[in-house]
């Protein structure tokens, strides 16, 4: 699979990841890796953040859309 964004720019770059939201293949340059906090617990105990995080890969467009909410 090739990077979709590079392909649109006329370049041919191998994709190293797939955006978890839109499924776009992205190269290292166009892949955004986010670390999501994981919370455990809740009523009737206070929730607490666990030590590990969950990674996710996004393309720049989806990352920007999620940031805007």
């Amino acid at each position: 699979m090739k990077c979709y964004i590079c392909a649109k720019e006329g370049r041919s770059t191998d994709a190293v990841a797939i955006c978890i939201v839109c499924g776009m293949g992205t190269c290292m340059e166009h892949t955004i890796r986010q670390e999501l906090d994981v919370w455990e617990g809740g009523y009737p105990f206070p929730a607490h953040k666990v030590g590990t995080t969950i990674p996710r890969m996004l393309c720049p467009d989806c990352a920007a859309a999620l940031r805007k909410g």
Binding site: W39, G41, G42, Y43, P44, F45, P46, A47, H48, K49
Partner: protein, 245 residues
């Protein structure tokens, strides 16, 4: 986990909501029923307008306030809002003893603030006629009967908390509704025995407000609302553990 100070703020806020709306509904019912002639000596005003529906309305006010507090604050502090619940979770080793005292003090502060602010909103009739929704044994009910009623009511409430929230096998998301409606049901049935406080903080606020604002001095009844709820809550927590382990 957020700091103990923030969790205490959440406990103050949640108990405030519970007592302002729940005990406030009881006070408002008495104010609305002023001047009516009770059908029986067992009726002090709550029940004069709509019979058991008066208690259902008060129970739902408590239930909705508890439900909202659980969904809003449950992840912050655990939304105990009740010293009996905090003590039951502590004695069954689910809640740290180092935080227990701070939670109980916060709950008492929240209950007291609610009573004073309700009096400020509704006026002195809320104190002199509504008694700020304070609980006391109804005519003909002995001290022992009142403790028993409070213990049984809190037993059911804490059993629901154990099954719907503490147990990790419980379905997610239903705890607030299940526990709020349980509280409403218990109040509807046992309210006319001893007020169905089920919560020392819920009784502490109106007692303090009445005492300081020129209303009745009811402190002699306060042990009922400590012994009954704490006993019922602790027994419920141990019974639930016994049934499942």
């Amino acid at each position: 986990m957020v700091s103990l100070a923030k969790r205490c703020c959440a406990e103050i806020t949640g108990t405030f909501l519970l007592v302002f709306f729940g005990a406030g509904a009881a006070a408002m019912t008495l104010m609305l029923a002023r001047g009516t002639t009770p059908a029986t000596p067992f009726n002090i005003g709550i029940g004069a307008l709509g019979g058991l529906a008066d208690w259902l309305a008060i129970g739902l006010a408590f239930g909705f306030a508890l439900m909202a507090s659980i969904y809003a604050l449950g992840r912050v502090s655990g939304a105990h809002l009740n010293p009996a619940v905090t003590i039951a979770l502590w004695v069954t080793r689910r809640f740290p003893g180092t935080d227990t005292g701070a939670y109980i003090v916060s709950q008492l502060i929240g209950g007291a603030l609610a009573s004073f602010i309700f009096a400020a909103c509704a006026g002195m009739d809320a104190v002199t006629i509504g008694g700020l929704g304070a609980t006391a044994p109804f005519p003909g009910i002995t001290y022992g009967q009142a403790i028993l009623a409070e213990a049984v009511g809190t037993f059911i409430l804490v059993l629901a908390i154990m099954g719907a929230a503490v147990d990790e096998r419980a379905p997610a998301g239903i705890a607030g509704m299940a526990i709020g409606l349980t509280l409403a049901g218990v109040i509807t049935t046992t309210g006319n025995i001893a007020g169905a406080s089920l919560n020392p903080a819920r009784t502490f606020g109106p007692y303090l407000g009445d005492w300081l604002l020129g209303g009745a001095n009811l402190w002699g009844y306060f042990p009922i609302y400590i012994i009954g709820p704490v006993l019922g809550a602790v027994v419920a927590a141990f019974v639930y553990d016994y049934l499942w382990k």
